[in-house]
């Protein structure tokens, strides 16, 4: 395969950035949800719930 370094760099860095952004967004949500009563946020579920 030609240009393997460019392919790995392009795909790898894009997926890493997207993954890091997704994780940081979820962590922001978890941190913020600690300060908000459940009745204000109808979609909130505990991490152990199936729903």
């Amino acid at each position: 395969m030609t240009h393997l370094g460019y392919l790995l760099c392009g795909w790898g860095s894009a997926l890493v950035v997207l993954g890091a952004y997704a994780v940081s967004t979820i962590r922001r949500g978890r941190k913020l949800s600690e300060g908000v009563p459940r009745e204000r946020v109808r979609w909130l579920t505990t991490s152990g719930d199936d729903a």
């Binding site: 392919l7 913020l32 908000v36 009563p37 946020v41």
Partner: protein
């Protein structure tokens, strides 16, 4: 003593729908990687006169990433502007929260478009960056404008002022969107980019299918990110309102002689 009704359990921005969406996104990325690296052929053609091999070779596999990211960026910024316009008309927090989420996700995607385009350009165009290329420059301006939008949103704690200013900036910034998209047609001699190959169906079969799969997969991923980012924005707003309600009750309790007489968690 003031108590909060916030649950000690670990809460998330996830729901059944968002988890299904996330799972489909992951499966889609796996399928896209399979098609992009395993099933599609490299772009190799023969020169009509010399017979030499020409084309993008395996670098074409970066386009299954770069082009869908670019289209998702257009979609995110367009809906950011639309939500901003709706906010200025209706003044409801839902539209503002959606616009902010769209802008942030769109900016991440736009940054990746610039990065993957640069990495693709090095083997194909023999350059990382071309300052005279109109599409590169208009995309860079779009990225910087929305970075400015995000900076503006964080510059003040006044949510109403932040929302109003952000909406105006988004509506101005989105003017650049059709310019980015049409720049290769309007200034065809000032860009290294080719005109649209998708509209004219210059690519076919598995290459076309993989590109369309890329649109679908990154569209799913963007929707999943938007869902979580929207909920983060909603939590920020609800948290601020809840803290304000607590502060008001505490102030009233102080004025009544320190007899609070109610649980703050009862505040709706």
């Amino acid at each position: 003593m003031i108590q909060s009704s916030a649950s000690p359990d670990l809460l998330t921005t996830g729901s059944r729908g968002s988890r299904a969406l996330g799972l489909f996104s992951l499966l889609g990325i796996a399928a896209l990687l399979l098609f992009a690296f395993g099933l599609t052929e490299p772009d190799i053609r023969l020169h009509p006169t010399t017979g030499d091999e020409i084309g993008q070779f395996d670098a074409v596999r970066l386009l299954y990433l770069h082009v869908p990211l670019a289209v998702c960026t257009y979609v995110a910024f367009f809906f950011c502007a639309l939500s901003s316009a709706c906010y200025l008309i209706r003044r409801t927090p839902w539209f503002d929260t959606m616009a902010y989420a769209m802008a942030e996700v769109g900016t991440v995607f736009c940054g990746l478009v610039l990065m993957t385009g640069s990495i693709w350009g090095r083997p194909v165009w023999n350059t990382w960056w071309e300052w005279g290329d109109v599409r590169l420059m208009t995309t860079l301006v779009l990225f910087l404008t929305f970075l400015g939008y995000l900076g503006l949103r964080r510059a003040t704690h006044d949510m109403t002022a932040s929302a109003r200013r952000g909406a105006v900036v988004a509506l101005v910034a989105v003017i650049n969107l059709p310019i980015v998209n049409r720049s290769v047609e309007w200034w065809e001699n000032r860009t290294l980019h080719q005109k649209s190959t998708l509209g004219d169906l210059k690519i076919q079969d598995l290459t076309l299918f993989t590109l369309i799969l890329g649109f679908f997969v990154f569209g799913l991923l963007m929707t999943w990110l938007l869902l979580h980012r929207f909920r983060v924005g909603w939590l920020e707003r609800q948290g601020a309102e809840h803290r304000l309600a607590i502060a008001i009750i505490e102030r009233r309790a102080d004025a009544d002689g320190g007899n609070l007489g109610m649980v703050v968690g009862d505040i709706p």
